[in-house]
Symmetry: D3
Subunit: 125 residues, 6 copies
């Protein structure tokens, strides 16, 4: 069963962040601490994201909601990219930002809009 969680965790992370980033992210965490990397992959992404009670898109949407409400900028950008990868639409993210502005305050929305633009706009080059 530990193997199932590990597999499921990698699967969820790959769907969200792409195969390359999923592997790199895990390596980064393993360099910090092997046990914590396993915990996050197996328990968080395998065990919790993998529960059947809510579809992954909804999990993605509520994850972004919590990250915006708590003002966790870098993680919010990461999960916005993840959300778009699994088919959450730009419109849905936008609506979430506007709705939650009234629950965690307009400044958290302004920060989320900044993140949204960085994530959705074509890079200049």
């Amino acid at each position: 069963m530990a193997d199932d969680l590990a597999k499921k965790g990698l699967e969820v992370r790959t769907a969200l962040f792409g195969e390359k980033a999923a592997v790199a992210g895990n390596e980064y965490l393993k360099q910090f601490d092997e046990g914590f990397a396993t915990f996050l992959n197996d328990q968080l992404f395998g065990g919790i994201w993998g529960r059947p009670g809510l579809p992954t898109k909804i999990r993605s949407l509520i994850t972004m909601t919590a990250l915006m409400a708590l003002g966790r900028g870098p993680e919010l950008r990461l999960h916005m990219r993840g959300a778009l990868n699994i088919g959450v639409t730009k419109e849905e993210i936008k609506e979430m930002i506007i709705h939650i502005s009234q629950y965690s305050g307009v400044p958290t929305a302004v920060e989320a809009i900044r993140a949204f633009r960085e994530v959705t706009e074509p890079r200049k080059g």
Copy 2:
């Protein structure tokens, strides 16, 4: 258009909290400040909850998410009742709590479980 928002706001609040509580809630806020009561009904519930970009059930779910993450106990209870009234299932609320525990910390989940039990258990009498 101000009339439309007022009507829509009352409609959303009635669906969430029931007619009696929707009216009483508005009266309570009007006693505090007429303008702020109008703002909350028209702009928040009419204007924002009423936007077409996300279904009301999803708005309810992300509202509870923000309230749990920010540790707003009384408001969380209110919106859990609202969620059940518009057809969000107990299972969905439960899944949200478990999922978000990893984003805002286990103590916010323990508090949300307390709220969940108060809201879902038959009152002793």
Copy 3:
């Protein structure tokens, strides 16, 4: 100079909370820890509240603002009573609540309104 701060601290706390509560509050803190009670009276109320750069009423208003924004219910009630004692008006507190609702979220305003009503309404009995 330590004596000056002690005197000023007692003075500020008496103006805010009344003589009886100022003394009782200090006793309560001294039972917890003598040094911390002295720190709060001398440094916080004497040293910081006593600085000339902002009038006490403005200090009271920004204190309530921080307490509301951070969701510190019991302390907010205490400082609302203090504010009214030194001449901050109900209207000013009300305006602060409505204004800050957009910066820390509507749920913090709902909690502050609850506090406001408890503090300003004549007790039933």
Copy 4:
């Protein structure tokens, strides 16, 4: 009346941020979402900042207080610039930072001092 709020909102934003930044800020928000840009201009800056119950300087001071207490760095910088534009003095901002350090913790003051220096010091060049 919607027109009045729109006009008042632009007026308040112009006083705070200057005409150029007020217009640019609105454009930026409109590109994100037309409705939300209107909400912020009309309801927040026109409707709430425009209420007569508190002078604009006090509104500016309590806005900075909430932003500091909640650790909203970029917005704090923006509103510090706004505060100086409408005549809040450096001394008053400084006093607010020192006072609030005891309510939201010294680290929020250290961050606010960083913002204060960026906003008040002549740019090197």
Copy 5:
């Protein structure tokens, strides 16, 4: 290995909260959700509290620190009781509260003092 974590988790929870409360707490969580109860016992108390890198007393002290800083009142009371059960002294808890007051603000200390008194004072009866 899952069995080891389960056993370790129960052991840690029993040391902290006593056998009766450890079992009752688990039952309460299982009624909410079997999988989440297992997660908390096995992963949080068995897997994380059971890691060798920090002694349990230090884990208890930093847990109380986080709970105080984040304003999680009921959980703080629970872990204060747990701390005293495993030999953290009243003096150490007191020092933590005074120290952290400067990092999360005096109001979080006032709330923690309230919790401290409830937990350490002989009940009236």
Copy 6:
């Protein structure tokens, strides 16, 4: 006694941040406000860090805990450097991060890991 606190404060700050940074930090704060610089040196570092009830290493560990839980990135980096200077080990900081992830949420741990790597990795150059 004020002199004792001043001396003790400088001593604590020197142990944590090194003599050069301790002096520079004080100068920086004095340029902001003389009185607040004195308050932080004498009362916070001299008076509170200097209390005998907890060893400095434990004070350092709980300070980092609060900074991580509250998401205060720059201050967390500063105190991680301080912790290593007074003999807190990398392993202990790592354990604190992993432990607290369950109390303030995984995103605060991810941010703390970022800080940990910046502070502990040899600079490229």
